[in-house]
């Protein structure tokens, strides 16, 4: 039983990491209708910035703060420069552009920092806390707290502020928003900026566990895709819950299903994606899209 609870809790921690990348995917999908295949690579690049700042002697949380701001600006720039020309074009073209972005960012990171594997220090003390008889790592609690904080802030932004309202309006109904004077283009860019910053967090949190190299986020991306698919691609809350479910399922499957073990963990999100897309394509909390021919 204790093993079970421990596995669930450590599953929640990795789930929180997937959730932050999944929320990034959802933010972009909601604002621009694009599934961003480059989201993981953007997060990876941000993580390298943190690593570089740490190498230069910056304190950890300052490095993270600076990186999040830089990622936000970079996200806006990517939308305005690279994505804007293909918005509204056929799906195939948009997918190919985000794949191009994936390859490009991956190679840029390799170009700047080489493909060598780097260790990134963990900001948490390596200790366990006793929570009602279950030993939980401080890092687990820290990751959960950070992601909860960010998701909470996002919720406040979208539900309680004027900017959030404008952002939602621009995503929901660009035509009408334009008519009431909202600068829709900039709002979409802002969505990309927010996504880049939230996604960056997933890279920063996962780096001490997975070690940093340009291909670090490829598997995390698959898990995040599973989370977003499960929760519904247009539901940020769903993405968070989806992330947690994926994280826990992955951990339990690895512990209790012999065939899977630790090597085959990646098959869990894969099966989840296929199952959800076939049985309930809009996900748990998403809205089914009505197509009019």
């Amino acid at each position: 039983m204790e093993l079970f609870i421990q596995q669930v809790i450590s599953g929640l921690a990795s789930g929180a990491i997937y959730a932050s990348l999944a929320v990034a995917l959802v933010l972009i999908y909601r604002s621009t209708d694009i599934v961003n295949f480059a989201q993981g690579e953007m997060a990876m690049f941000s993580t390298y910035i943190v690593w570089q700042l740490l190498q230069n002697g910056a304190p950890y949380w300052l490095a993270v703060g600076v990186t999040l701001v830089a990622s936000f600006i970079a996200g806006i720039a990517i939308e305005r420069v690279i994505i804007r020309p293909v918005e509204g074009r056929p799906e195939l073209i948009v997918v190919i552009v985000t794949i191009g972005l994936l390859i490009l960012i991956n190679a840029l990171a390799g170009y700047i920092w080489s493909f060598q594997v780097r260790g990134v220090p963990s900001p948490w003390v390596a200790r366990n806390v006793d929570l009602g008889g279950v030993r939980v790592g401080v890092s687990t609690l820290g990751i959960l707290a950070v992601v909860a904080l960010v998701v909470g802030l996002l919720f406040v932004l979208f539900a309680r502020t004027r900017l959030g309202l404008v952002l939602r309006a621009a995503a929901e109904n660009p035509e009408s928003s334009r008519l009431v004077g909202i600068r829709v283009g900039w709002m979409l860019a802002l969505g990309w900026g927010l996504a880049a910053a939230v996604g960056a967090l997933s890279g920063i949190l996962v780096a001490p566990i997975l070690f940093l190299d340009p291909n670090m986020m490829l598997s995390v991306l698959i898990f995040a895709f599973a989370a977003a698919t499960l929760g519904g691609f247009d539901s940020p809350g769903g993405a968070v819950l989806g992330g947690l479910i994926v994280g826990v399922t992955e951990n339990l499957a690895a512990t209790y299903v012999d065939v899977i073990g630790t090597d085959l963990k990646i098959i869990v999100p894969m099966l989840l994606i296929v199952a959800v897309l076939l049985l309930r394509p809009q996900g748990l909390f998403g809205h089914a899209r009505v197509e009019r021919a």
């Binding site: 295949f37 020309p85 191009g100 190679a107 390799g110 170009y111 490829l218 895709f225 090597d263 098959i267």
Partner: protein
């Protein structure tokens, strides 16, 4: 001297046939001129070209995106390797790989029917990501992380060829056959159905095209091409391990297809050449340089040249055709045509660049 009129269909056929014969002649001559290492590279180009052509049938002609063709490539490679290890002659080891990947492609094509665009991309990317761990997991069959070694085909004595040349000609034969088959497929009823579905699914269905059958078969053919290419890669390299079939392989195939030319037959050949020679040239600069070139080209192609290299060549060809076409004599007293007006009846290229068309 008689003026060449490329707008005349008979002339056009003759020029195209001449071009093909020339291309084939060059392909046959190449390995007699170059050193073994170059011949090896050229063989690799042909192998990749077959795989990319398979992806092109699916993505370029049927509009279904796949980020997972590396998985079929891997299955083809492993099937061939395992059968060769079991003592099957190397030529006989390819057909089972083709059949198996055809069936697997058909199987993946069924869930793909319900997915479109990015979602199909997601699922196929997942398939690609699962492949290396699966290969490692079933190590009894695949040799696990250690991989498998097979002995490369040896040139028979009667041929008088070196081993690398023999291998090149074998792969060339496969490439010619698969390209010819793909060309005929595209010009057949099934091919036109594939293109119709790509351009407008609803309209295609209204015209009575059986969507499910055409799409699953396109997937199956496409996977089989990747499988054959995988099998050939086993001959060429003689060694395979799970890590050589990472997700990046699938992504590279897509990149090669787009850069070479979506919805073209010869685009995959250019794309494959890019895959092999761009790293060769740019690795001197940096390990990451090929990736930067590919990523940038992929994005750039979508902005300015959705037809890739083959599309650019085709545009050039059409210009040439209209430039050589005889201009109709204006009736006496009529205004001369404005400068730069194109002559009518320029032949439209087949399977145009409709990836750009609104759906």
């Amino acid at each position: 001297m008689r003026r060449i009129n490329l707008a005349d269909p008979a002339t056009q056929r003759r020029v195209k046939a001449l071009g093909l014969v020339l291309l084939l002649a060059v392909a046959v001559w190449l390995p007699t001129y170059y050193v073994p290492y170059r011949v090896f590279q050229l063989t690799t180009v042909l192998v990749y070209a077959i795989a990319v052509l398979g992806l092109g049938l699916l993505t370029g002609y049927n509009g279904q995106i796949s980020l997972g063709h590396g998985a079929f490539y891997a299955v083809g490679a492993y099937t061939t390797a395992i059968l060769m290890e079991a003592g099957l002659p190397y030529l006989l080891a390819i057909p089972p790989a083709a059949v198996l990947t055809f069936i697997l492609g058909f199987g993946l094509g069924i869930p793909a029917l319900r997915l479109h665009g990015p979602y199909l991309g997601l699922v196929t990317l997942g398939v690609a990501a699962v492949t290396p761990p699966l290969l490692k997991r079933f190590s009894g069959l695949t040799g696990g992380s250690m991989g498998l070694s097979v002995s490369k085909p040896v040139a028979p004595e009667w041929s008088g060829l070196a081993n690398d040349q023999w291998l090149y000609y074998l792969v060339l034969a496969f490439a010619v056959a698969t390209f010819a088959l793909a060309r005929n497929l595209i010009h057949s009823r099934a091919g036109r159905a594939m293109i119709a579905i790509r351009d407008n699914e609803l309209a295609a269905r209204t015209m009575g095209i059986p969507l499910a059958r055409v799409k699953t078969r396109a997937f199956a053919w496409s996977a089989m091409y990747a499988g054959i290419a995988g099998g050939l890669s086993t001959w060429v390299i003689g060694f395979l391990s799970p890590d050589s079939f990472a997700v990046t392989v699938s992504i590279q195939f897509l990149a090669a297809l787009v850069v070479g030319g979506l919805g073209t037959i010869f685009g995959p050949l250019f794309g494959a050449a890019f895959l092999v020679f761009v790293p060769n040239v740019s690795q001197n600069i940096n390990d990451a340089a090929p990736g930067i070139a590919f990523g940038a080209l992929l994005i750039l192609a979508m902005y300015v040249a959705p037809g890739g290299i083959a599309g650019l060549l085709r545009t050039g060809w059409i210009r040439l055709v209209s430039a050589t076409a005889p201009r109709p004599k204006p009736p006496p007293g009529a205004q001369p045509p404005p400068v730069g007006s194109t002559t009518p009846a320029t032949p439209r290229a087949e399977g145009g660049l409709t990836v750009d068309a609104e759906q």
